[in-house]
Subunit: 159 residues, 2 copies
Amino acid sequence: MSFVHLFRRYLREQGLPVTQQREAIAEVVFSSSEHLSVDDIETRLREQGERIGKATIYRTLETLVKSGLVEEHDFGEGFKRYEHLFGQKPVREHLICTECGKVVDMHSTELHRVQEEAARQQGFLPSRYRLQIYGLCAECRAAGAELRWEGLSCPIETI
Amino acid sequence: MSFVHLFRRYLREQGLPVTQQREAIAEVVFSSSEHLSVDDIETRLREQGERIGKATIYRTLETLVKSGLVEEHDFGEGFKRYEHLFGQKPVREHLICTECGKVVDMHSTELHRVQEEAARQQGFLPSRYRLQIYGLCAECRAAGAELRWEGLSCPIETI
DNA sequence: GTAATTGCAAAGGATTTGCAACAGT
DNA sequence: ACTGTTGCAAATCCTTTGCAATTAC
């Protein structure tokens, strides 16, 4: 069940084989509401008894992204994360806690509008965007964490 | 001449040696207004006769970023880019042309304000953010480029 | 002189690719 | 049958690290 049939349909439309591995990988990504790394996906597959090579996972994720059913994210961790796009409002903004690493999705219509406008003012025709806000989440603030600033506090003012 | 003396000052403050290599690397980064990759930097050093190992470039860039004089960017290309922060308004938004790859800096005060507000509404204390807008730049639009959409045009509507 | 940096080469981690065996249509 | 996928290992790319020789202070 779940949303795997959409991926199956996409594969058929494209004349690509519907394989057991592709279905298993899609199932894992579609049934999680988190941002999964390739290792996360491999682990979950292993937990449910599937033993699928990493190369296949990478290749299937590429197909899933092309299908438009899954989105790729880069939070600057040195590797990518993947997230399905079902039953969510379009999430394009991420709040990333620099203390605990938690990533919170959000979506602001106003933000979207202002961005669109700013890009067009530069003669740009925007198609997609990504916004990452780093800071402290509510929990870490409550736990007394402080923002850390490294290096000179504001070197630019000193020029 | 240039802004290298600021970096020198930072090094002295930190009790770190001021070396020929660090000065040459800083000079290259400070005298370019582009977003330089490590390879770009190595090439420019070589062009001006300096032969400095990649490890040293990486290590010096780390110091430059810590000093607050240089900022690190990740445009999802699989490697980092570096940009000095002199004589510019704070640039936190990048327009990235999906046709020619050009990156245009911008800064919108309104955008900044709206972002700040949206983050706080989620209980978040924002410290820094990055926004990347992908699309077509004015030149590529004039040259007749079209936005390319891969895969299903909008699979989410079909669920 | 002492402590830190340099440069090389090797290691590291994420991702990709080549290719023989295999599975989907 | 034919075409495309899988899985493994090797290769690749960017980046980091270990260590002996060198340089800054």
